[in-house]
Amino acid sequence: MNFELDESQKEFRKKVEEFARREFTEEAASKYDLQEKYPDEVVRKMLSEGVFDYSNPWNILVATETFCKYDAGMGISMLVPFFGNEVIALFGNDEQKKKYLSRVFSGQAKMGLAVTEPGGGSDVANIKTTAVKEGDHYILNGSKMFITNGDIADFFVLLARTSVEKKKHQGMSVFIVERNFEGFKSNKIHGKLGVRATDTAELTLENVKVPEENLVGEPGRGFYYIMTFFDISRAYVAAQALGIAEGILERAVNILQKDGPLTSQPERVQFTIADMATRIEAAKLLTYEAASFIFNFNPNPAVTSMAKAYAAETAVYVSRKAMEITGVDGLTSSMERSFRDAKIMEIWEGTSEIEKLVIARMLKVGDTQ
């Protein structure tokens, strides 16, 4: 067992840190937050400087954590252009990978994942969007809600119902839907509490004609593809939450240290800092453990959900405790933004409630009586 990243990963983290320190200034982060603007120019800069390396999933995890430590809104924006790519990578055919994924990885296109609907987030099997086969294409109708990149992505990996089966989670399929397909519309959602640099929109599909070759994998298997995807992406969301929590702890300690060493604070405050740091360390171990299972092609969904739920809870816990111990100094600092960002972690990519259901369902125990 080794609890350290290897040398090349540490080097990579340094590179990411340097970029974030330089680009995620308070001025920039607060501007994108206030204006609810996607930081496209910063993403382009990152791509042109070659900061990013998609070949190694550990690097994506490390970058996610590190970026979010500096600013979650901008940080997530850096990595979100290829959100959902694993669905095509795992279940798509070579044509689809060549046509869509290569453009995303070269920075020429952005993609998104469209699952949630106005009437159902947690209950994925209850989605109402339909896809009806007609000749060599499908006709899609319905709407999607809270879709990340919804207003900026060039195409989406989208879940729709293709047949009515006895079991609800059967009969769903995944399609690649391009923004420029006729009948596709997006409507940006304004006024998110946090992660306001990220783009979120509602999508509507009105008789959208999707060619048959844009069906991903087999028809009727969509629900399982998406669940497999979540078992991967939740590790990255755990890393987002972990980064947010780490950033808040550093900020809080630095505010307090302006008054002298931490040990001069009342023990109540020292205990709070100790609790925050302990939870962050536990969240980090869970996150890295979940990632390690996934990256070794041996995913453990219970551990992945534990990592996501626990890291999210930690981010929210840390954001609140930090405010309590730093008072107005924290309230009027960049911690205010992190406080707002943290709460989404308990909601997106499976609410904490859903994670707990997955943990209970997937838990493996021995036969101790």
Binding site: S30, L34, T116, G120, G121, S122, D123, N126, M145, F146, I189, H190, G191, K192, L193, G194, K258, D259, P266, E267, R268, V316, R320, M323, E324, T326, G327, V328, D329, G330, L331, T332, E336, F339, R340, K343, I344, E346, I347, W348, T351, S352, E353, K356
Partner: protein
């Protein structure tokens, strides 16, 4: 008497539902509307505790807490605005701006930042007919008249204030400003001790703001849990959500029962500490129960989450309350190192 409180509660609730709730989202974006302030004043909520001969409504503390609690349910910003305006009038009931303040046509506030800022603020200096200095993080700092303390006395300053607003997490119905004072138009209102004592006596009022916030957001979660379904059942039928809602609501009801039924420093201090806790817990639960919708402005839920945290920072220093509680629990001082 109980019946009178019930009538008052229903009246304030009806007012909040009819006049505050419909504009509550706009309050978050653009501040409390002047027109609403005038309507609030028209209800007698400003100067609520002043005796009739001073032009007030002559309410006792319970009556006043009912006003703060019921308005906080719809908008914690509005409730806190009422609290600060009344704090000003309690300290300075004979101000010549009284009529304008009590009609809601101008704002008056009290700078309580020295009691919540961790970092030491530069003291204001009053010499040679001039009041000068700088204050950071003043709630409603763009008000026409502000009561400030120089550490010894408190003054009502009426002009010569340059306020700059900053972004802030909660209570966005009012600005949070940094103010440069360079004023020759001010009046001495009393000693700093007077303000300090008044704030110490405000525990019940602050508790009622926290309590209203908690109940307001929890009621929305209850309503939503009945209509939103997941996996073919309304949310309220799932045990974890049921437990969370019931736990919050029963705590709220217990605190309310205790708050209105008990006078005295210990009871007030206890209620303030407990009401703050439940406001933080309930605002988080309610947002979570609303899911993605809770996270966006349009649903009017996220503001409670921001406001609970901001209020907990502004009024969250429990050192005074802990001192009071310690006297009852320990019979002497405790928890002081």
């Amino acid at each position: 008497m109980m019946e009178e409180y019930e009538i008052l509660r229903n009246t304030v609730r009806e007012f909040a539902t009819k006049e505050i709730e419909p504009v509550s989202k706009d309050i978050e974006l653009n501040g409390i509307q002047r027109q609403l302030k005038e309507k609030i004043a028209g209800q007698g909520f400003i100067g609520a505790t002043l005796p009739a001969e001073k032009g007030g409504a002559g309410l006792d503390e319970n009556g006043y807490m009912i006003i703060l609690e019921e308005t906080a349910k719809a908008s914690p910003s509005v409730s806190t605005w009422i609290f600060l305006t009344n704090l000003y009038l309690k300290l300075y009931p004979d101000t010549d701006q009284k009529e304008r303040i009590m009609s809601g046509s101008v704002d008056a506030t009290v700078d309580i930042s020295p009691y919540y800022l961790r970092s030491k603020t530069n003291p204001l200096t009053v010499t040679g007919g001039k009041l000068t200095g700088r204050r950071t993080g003043v709630i409603n700092g763009t008000a026409s008249s502000i009561i400030v303390s120089d550490g010894t006395n408190i003054y009502a300053v009426n002009s010569g204030m340059h306020a700059e607003s900053r972004n802030h997490l909660g209570l966005r119905g009012m600005d949070l400003s940094d103010i440069d004072f360079d004023s020759s138009s001010y009046e001495k209102v009393g000693s700093e001790e007077k303000l300090r004592m008044e704030l110490k006596k405000s525990d019940g009022e602050i508790a009622s703001i926290f309590l209203g916030l908690a109940d307001g957001t929890m009621q929305k979660a209850i309503d939503y849990s009945k209509v939103r379904t997941a996996f073919d059942h309304p949310l309220k039928d799932y045990t974890p959500i049921f437990d969370e809602i019931v736990n919050a609501r029963t705590q709220i009801d217990l605190i309310r029962f205790y708050l209105y039924g008990n006078q005295g420093e210990y009871a007030r201090a206890l209620c303030k500490v407990k009401a703050k806790d439940i406001a933080l817990t309930a605002s988080r639960s309610s947002l979570q129960i609303h899911g993605g919708y809770g996270y966006i402005h349009d649903f009017g839920i996220e503001k409670y989450y921001r406001d609970a945290m901001a209020l907990a920072v502004y009024f969250g220093d429990d050192s005074w309350e802990n001192g009071v509680i310690s006297q009852t629990v320990m019979g002497e001082k405790g928890g002081i190192i």
